[in-house]
């Protein structure tokens, strides 16, 4: 097996007396499509926050692409190629939709090039990324003019614009209709085919099952199952966590 792109080793996180993550181990191979599920409050978002640097894990370590992530600020992790979208869309309200996409181009993609983008390049790339999520016609609008669905697409597009090696999509599909969920899943699969490793955190099981090559289940801050999606959902422990005894 090739070296993992992301290696989460014995990561724990407490909020006061509440143990949000309890010794999580997780490896993600380059090019993999991983689904991460778990009931509400099971620690999925906390894990994402520890991986992306928004929160600091108390024990354990996160390695990404050969770099130790402990102590790195979120923007440094983004520069290394780890991008995430937020569960609740957090657009830059005072910037237009196209300008929202421009920010990761200016601050992340720029670092990987020798010369700054020309204005045409920036505009072209913004439209390309917005085209992927079908927001091209809204490029000049303000985020407040977008619908909830479009806002989620913008959130995803902004993460994609950073040209990451690993994309963590945190509940990108909550509240979307069935056809929109399908659109997003096929978009994520397209991105994956272009070589981006993707971790999908999701409650919508049809999306998770059609997307994931491997499924990880978190319950109460512990990883209880990890493996082939079909096997995982038949795991009695997973059934117990979701359906009760």
């Amino acid at each position: 097996m090739t070296a993992p792109l992301l290696k989460v080793d014995n990561v724990s996180k407490r909020f006061g007396g509440f143990v949000a993550l309890d010794g999580i181990n997780l490896e993600v191979a380059p090019g993999e499509r991983l689904g991460l599920i778990g009931p509400n409050g099971s620690g999925k978002s906390t894990l994402v926050n520890c991986m992306s640097g928004t929160l600091h894990n108390e024990t354990g370590s996160v390695h990404f692409d050969g770099h130790a992530m402990n102590g790195l600020a979120p923007h440094q992790r983004t520069h290394l190629g780890l991008a995430r979208s937020f569960q609740l869309p957090r657009p830059f309200h005072s910037l237009s939709v196209a300008e929202n996409i421009r920010v990761p181009l200016l601050y992340t993609v720029r670092l990987r090039r020798d010369v700054p983008h020309t204005r045409e390049e920036l505009e072209h790339r913004c439209h390309e990324v917005l085209g992927l999520v079908g927001l091209e016609h809204k490029a000049k609008k303000q985020p407040k003019d977008l619908t909830q669905v479009e806002m989620r697409k913008l959130e995803l597009a902004r993460a994609m614009a950073a040209e990451p090696k690993l994309l963590i999509a945190d509940e990108a599909m909550a509240g979307l209709s069935e056809s929109e969920v399908k659109d997003i899943v096929s978009l994520l699969i397209t991105l994956n085919e272009r070589g981006i490793t993707i971790i999908l955190i999701e409650h919508i099981m049809t999306a998770v099952m059609s997307f994931s090559q491997r499924l990880v289940v978190l319950v109460s801050g512990k990883k209880i199952s990890d493996g082939d999606p079909q096997d995982v959902i038949r795991d009695p422990e997973v059934e117990r966590a979701y359906l009760g005894q």
Binding site: T54, P91, S94, A162
Partner: protein, 348 residues
């Protein structure tokens, strides 16, 4: 328009304005105009941190005073050197201090910028109202320091004698101060405008909107905030540096006056905080009104005017004059696009 073109054009406008003002042969015009110009710089400086990054600084007066007191220190140095230092050294210090006003402005800018950087480093982990309170505390701490620092006159204040000659021939000293401040206004506006249109400006805007999302997009928020506090502090210090020469006698209560802190916030708020034009508009409007009120009614009325206008704008037009403009003319601009949207729907 490119930055250097903007700089040259606004410098030309400023110089033409200066020449025109000289034709009126009225010193009061320069005396009052200087205050308005000083407030344009102060408001623009506040807006770099407050408007672009969304961090409200209540301590503008402290940075202004740092600039002013840097000048006071420079004017006190020759006498100090004569008394306490060996003759040769004293002579050298006496010959280079106090330096000409443009150098004093640079010095004031450097000192205030460094204090801005330090303050930023200590306080920028605080957000919203906590940051604002910390800047207020900074002003109080600095004022206490100055009040107890005998070298710069302590609470008694310090006289600063204007140099007898003006390095630029043919104009008197108040005209010279006005001219220097005019150039500083052009520089400050050029810098603010350049920031707005640059990568830095996008970074600042993301900090104002959502710091977590900014970090996730790769924006080094702490570094950018330090750039903003340093720049903002530096320009406030620069605005304050010529002040002792203007006023002739500087005491802590005038350098740390409430009017600087209030005006530095009120002017961008009233003009509009999203663009360099806002602080300019706000400062010209408020500054002129205050000067008019000072000569026609009383100097005490000027703060009342600021207060009333601020209340009015916060309630009626929270985005300032620029916001009002945008609301009125922006809507007109949008109508055709809505029409084309409908046309597109019909054809499809």
């Amino acid at each position: 328009m490119r930055t250097w073109q903007f700089f040259l054009v606004s410098l030309a406008i400023a110089l033409v304005g200066f020449a025109a003002a000289r034709l009126l042969k009225n010193d009061y015009l320069f005396f009052a105009g200087y205050v308005v110009l000083q407030f344009i710089v102060l408001a623009t400086a506040w807006n770099i941190l407050g408007g672009y990054c969304g961090y409200v600084n209540f301590g503008s007066a402290a940075f202004f005073a740092i600039g002013a007191y840097t000048t006071v220190v420079m004017t006190k140095l020759p006498a100090f050197a004569n008394r306490h230092l060996p003759e040769g050294l004293a002579e050298i210090i006496g010959s280079i201090t106090p330096p000409p006003i443009p150098i004093l402005i640079l010095l004031g800018g450097v000192v205030a910028g460094l204090v801005g950087l330090g303050t930023g480093y200590l306080t920028l982990r605080l957000r919203g109202v906590f940051f604002a309170i910390a800047t207020l505390a900074l002003a109080v701490v600095l004022q206490t320091l100055i009040v107890n620092w005998d070298f710069v006159g302590g609470s008694r204040g310090a006289y600063v004698i204007r140099p007898a000659t003006v390095p630029v021939l043919g104009i008197n000293y108040i005209e010279y101060l006005f001219l220097v401040m005019l150039v500083l206004v052009v520089v400050a506006l050029t810098v603010a405008r350049a920031i707005e249109r640059s990568r830095l400006g996008y970074g600042f805007a993301t900090i104002r909107d959502d710091e977590l999302a900014a970090e996730a997009s790769g924006v080094p928020t702490l570094k950018l905030k330090l750039v903003a506090t340093t720049l903002s502090g530096a320009f406030m210090g620069m605005a304050g540096a010529p002040f002792p020469y203007y006023i002739g006698f500087l005491e802590p209560s005038s350098a740390f006056g409430l009017s600087y802190a209030v005006n530095a916030i009120a002017m961008p708020m009233i003009g509009g905080t999203t663009s360099w034009v806002g602080p300019l508009l706000g400062a010209v409007l408020l500054g002129t009104l205050q000067q008019l009120a000072t000569v026609t009614i009383s100097s005490a009325v000027s703060l009342l005017i600021v207060g009333l206008l601020l209340v009015f704008f916060v309630i009626i037009a929270p985005n300032g004059l620029l916001g009002l403009w945008h609301d009125y003319f922006g809507r007109k601009d949008e109508k055709p696009t809505q029409a084309t949207d409908k046309a597109a729907v019909k054809t499809s």
